[in-house]
């Protein structure tokens, strides 16, 4: 395992953990598809910020695209509550349109520029991220991707740890929380903003489709297996970690796309968890009957 492998893996892990942690709450609050929508909708924000600043490290990318992400929830609400469109259609129309807008902007203004093309948008370029190292005084401090994700990961983990009770009560029983005077709007929009920011940061590495995979599959796997929320968060990270390592290894062995392989590996773990769950509940039923 060389330096490049380690760098790539660290990047993957940071993204995976951020997504698996936030994803647990998307699953529990049953708003996964809104998370899916956000991950698609940030694209035009990214493209516009890129066109304005012409480099990716700009903080404006982060802010602009994250704003777009939260904006998405407002647009969905607008269609659903003001224009009285049913919820699933509100979500579907919003994100497909915003995503299409992003692709059009890319096609019109970037002229096949390597940094931002359609493939990259969908699949990311985790596999080549190690090429962009940050070198200072002769020592490698990581890659550009890594340095973008690291602060986001730190914010996410701090939020999940310190905001645990708020996230927990909001996900379990929103109505009850509201009756206690807890500011649901604050928690909701802060959470969605974090999802947007994480999505944006992950975009370049794993692409749009696969961000959703990391947001859903590890949490869903954990959900099947555990009975307490802290465990769910922990197992979710374990699952996504294994997905990163195994996925990396397999993509290398089979010579296929890295980000896709990570998701497929996560999917395999989900299936295994599903089978375990089914077998154990069958056994339980049988022992109850005896």
């Amino acid at each position: 395992m060389g330096m490049n492998d380690i760098l790539t893996l660290i990047t993957a892990l940071l993204i995976a953990w951020s997504c698996s942690l936030l994803g647990c709450f998307l699953v529990l609050r049953k708003v996964v598809m809104v998370g899916d929508a956000i991950s698609h909708s940030v694209l035009p924000g990214i493209v516009i910020a890129y066109l304005i600043s012409t480099k990716f490290d700009s903080i404006f990318i982060l802010i602009g695209a994250a704003v777009f992400g939260v904006f998405t929830t407002f647009i969905i609400d607008f269609f659903h509550k003001k224009l009285k469109l049913q919820e699933d259609a509100s979500i579907g129309i919003t994100f497909t349109w915003l995503f299409a807008l992003g692709v059009i902007l890319i096609a019109l203004f970037t002229d096949g520029n390597a940094d931002l093309d359609q493939d990259c948008v969908l699949f990311g370029e985790l596999g080549t991220s190690f090429l962009d190292k940050i070198i200072y005084e002769g020592r490698v401090y990581g890659t550009r991707s890594m340095l973008m994700i690291l602060p986001v990961f730190i914010i996410v983990i701090l939020f999940v740890i310190f905001g645990f009770k708020g996230l927990q009560i909001m996900s379990f029983h929103e109505e009850y929380a509201k009756s206690k005077g807890i500011n649901i709007s604050f928690w909701h929009y802060t959470f969605m903003s974090l999802v947007s920011i994480t999505t944006v940061m992950s975009f370049e590495s794993v692409g749009a489709i696969l961000v959703v995979g990391l947001l859903v599959i590890p949490p869903a796997t954990a959900y099947l297996l555990v009975t307490k929320l802290p465990s769910m968060l922990f197992v979710s990270c374990i699952v996504s970690s294994i997905a990163c390592f195994l996925g990396y290894y397999l993509s290398f062995k089979l010579d296929v796309s890295l980000s896709s392989m990570i998701i497929v590996t996560a999917g395999i773990m989900f299936v295994i968890a599903l089978i375990i769950k089914k077998i154990s509940s069958n056994l339980q039923v049988k022992s109850n009957i005896k």
């Binding site: 529990l28 905001g163 009770k165 109505e175 206690k180």
Partner: protein
């Protein structure tokens, strides 16, 4: 703080999707009693509770608790929503849920203190669920789940308890446990307001009643209120002019209350 009333509802109207669901509701409730809110399906009972708890917007009127606005006395009121308002597959144990009763707005970023945890444990004891405290909530029976909600409310240490259909889908033993608990609470001076569907239990255990069918039919001590005439008006199912007008309001998209109109 010695007001006569626990809860006051004045000129309350609530519309849902433009259809008036509660129409000019007006009553005061005493303290230290077990109060039932009774009426047929769709009569607005749950909506009334939600209006009192500030969970839905009002078309007109106001509610007061201990003669004050809800936000000033929130810690003194505990809300127990319907059991079905939660997905019981959520990864949490009985203890986890009851402890949520101790969460306070503005203090969510702090850890729970030892006192908080102690109060939660006591509440679990009061509802007789101590042996289940580490059990995942999906593995509980309906009656046990209801008791978890009640324990959560008790952990709050409130003075008024507002409960939405706590006896639905609950076994007889649990019903008795809960009822005994409510009577004990009443004897401690707490006020309990319950939306209930079964008239039999009502006449035995409730001190005070509110009969509701979109509009207020009657309210007062149980014996006075439970007359044939009142019951007929509540459950009779007559399609009166009010219902006709409800439909016109919806069709024409009419505002349920005129803008700039002030009630004395």
């Amino acid at each position: 703080m010695n007001q006569k009333n626990s809860i006051e509802v004045h000129n309350l109207s609530v519309a849902y999707n433009k259809i008036p669901v509660l129409w000019d509701i007006d009553f005061e409730l005493p303290q230290g009693k077990i109060i039932g809110i009774v009426g047929p399906n769709g009569s607005g009972k749950s909506t009334l509770l939600k209006a009192i708890m500030g969970l839905i917007p009002l078309s007109s009127g106001y509610t007061k608790i201990y003669d004050k606005e809800l936000n000033l006395v929130r810690e003194r009121v505990a809300y127990v929503p319907q059991r079905e308002s939660v997905d019981w597959n959520f990864p949490a144990t009985v203890e986890d849920v009851v402890r949520m009763g101790r969460y306070k707005p503005g203090k969510l970023f702090n850890r729970l203190s030892a006192i908080d945890k102690e109060l939660a444990t006591e509440a679990i004891e009061k509802v007789k669920l101590t042996q289940y405290k580490d059990r995942q909530i999906a593995q509980l029976s309906g009656g046990q789940q209801q008791r978890v909600f009640l324990a959560r409310a008790l952990a709050q240490g409130a003075d008024i308890y507002i409960m939405d259909e706590p006896f639905v889908g609950v076994d007889v033993a649990t019903e008795k446990t809960i009822l005994d608990l409510l009577i004990a609470m009443k004897n401690e001076g707490k006020t309990v307001v319950i939306v209930h569907h079964d008239l039999q239990t009502v006449s035995d255990s409730f001190d005070y009643l509110v009969l509701l069918n979109t509009r207020l039919i009657a309210h007062g001590p149980t014996k006075e209120v439970l007359t044939d005439e009142n019951l007929q008006a509540t459950y009779g199912g007559q399609l009166n002019l009010l219902t006709k007008l409800q439909n016109i309001i919806k069709e024409k998209d009419f505002p349920i209350r005129e803008k700039g109109f002030d009630d004395k």
